[in-house]
């Protein structure tokens, strides 16, 4: 890691990439879909930083400042992905295919979709980057809109009000989307995990 002696090292934009490139990449990779996207966002961040260096406020560190720019880029990315996904989230029905659709058992778990026993699940043994990798893979299997809302809320940790405003959705719709995301992820993790063991 860069020993942050601001004056000497970080004053020179040529050093930024070496000191903060990997950090920014790691910040992005767990919040967006795919390496390439993360690398593109990091690249855009550096270019924007060079352009706006004059606006840099000495009070914050270069890394904080760069991360701020990256967060803006990530936000633009979320907005873009969400808006370009034409998949319609069915807010009313809320059927997740996990439940019986009609008859006297309507609304109960479908026998082939019941949650499995997770006692075999590794708590401590699962490496964090392995878990994040599987999670991202599962997110990629969800419709973009649903994955995006989940990423905004759980990975970028934006608050509900802000997300709803940005994406122009109601709080109720937000809950429905988050429920879809969690249920889809729960099932996906279960399948990938059971597959491995």
């Amino acid at each position: 890691m860069a020993r942050s002696s601001k004056q000497t090292e970080d004053d020179n934009p040529q050093e930024w990439l070496d000191h903060h490139g990997d950090y920014l990449f790691r910040y992005a990779i767990i919040r967006v879909s795919g390496r390439e996207t993360a690398e593109d966002l990091v690249q855009e961040t550096f270019l924007a930083a060079l352009k706006n260096y004059s606006s840099f406020d000495d009070k914050s560190s270069i890394r904080t400042w760069l991360t701020g720019i990256l967060r803006h880029k990530i936000m633009d990315y979320y907005r873009h992905i969400y808006k370009s996904d034409k998949h319609n989230v069915d807010f009313e029905g809320g059927n997740l295919d996990d439940f019986i659709e009609s008859g006297i058992h309507k609304g109960r778990w479908r026998p082939d979709r019941v949650p499995q026993n997770w006692s075999e699940w590794p708590d401590e043994s699962l490496h964090e980057s392995e878990f994040l990798r599987i999670l991202n893979k599962c997110l990629d299997d969800l419709p973009d809109r649903i994955a995006t809302v989940f990423r905004m809320s759980q990975l970028e940790e934006l608050d509900t009000k802000f997300i709803c405003k940005e994406l122009e959705i109601s709080t109720t719709n937000y809950w429905v989307i988050m429920h879809r995301a969690r249920s889809g992820l729960r099932r996906c993790l279960e399948i990938l995990w059971l597959d491995k063991s």
Binding site: M1, P13, Q14, W16, L17, G21, D22, Y23, F25, R26, Y27, I29, I30, R35, E39, V42, Q43, F46, L47, L50, K51, G94, N95, L96, D98, F99, K106, G107, R108, W109, V114, P115, Q116, N117, W118, W121, L126, E128, S129, F131, L132, L135, S153, Q154, L155, T160, Y174, W175, M178, H179, R182, S183, L185, R186, L189, E190
Partner: protein
């Protein structure tokens, strides 16, 4: 146990609604009525109890993994790729020489 299950089915909404409430409880405070619906339902319903535990576990794993990942320094292949590094480097140089 069978008796309890029957009671659960009679007095609480079906699993589909309960899972929705379990998920909602992660985002916001449930009303008193909703809280009790969940509480009573999972006494008799092993599957929804599992669902609840797994959602919580997933959340906890996500939080923990993210925290560790962000704190750690770069290790094996978790940084920018060589190609990306070169590309960005040359972009920066081009811009600085303008």
């Amino acid at each position: 146990m069978k008796f309890i299950k029957t009671v659960t089915d009679l007095v609480t909404p079906p699993c589909e609604d309960i899972t929705r409430l379990i998920s909602k409880s992660q985002d916001t405070e449930l009303s008193l009525k909703e809280k009790w619906q969940v509480r009573i339902h999972i006494i008799g319903c092993k599957l929804c109890y599992r669902y609840q535990q797994q959602i919580k576990k997933m959340n906890a794993l996500l939080k923990k993994s993210k925290e560790i990942f962000e704190k750690k320094d770069v290790e094996d292949g978790e940084g920018l790729s060589r190609e990306a590094y070169k590309k960005i480097k040359s972009d920066i140089d081009k811009n600085l020489n303008k």
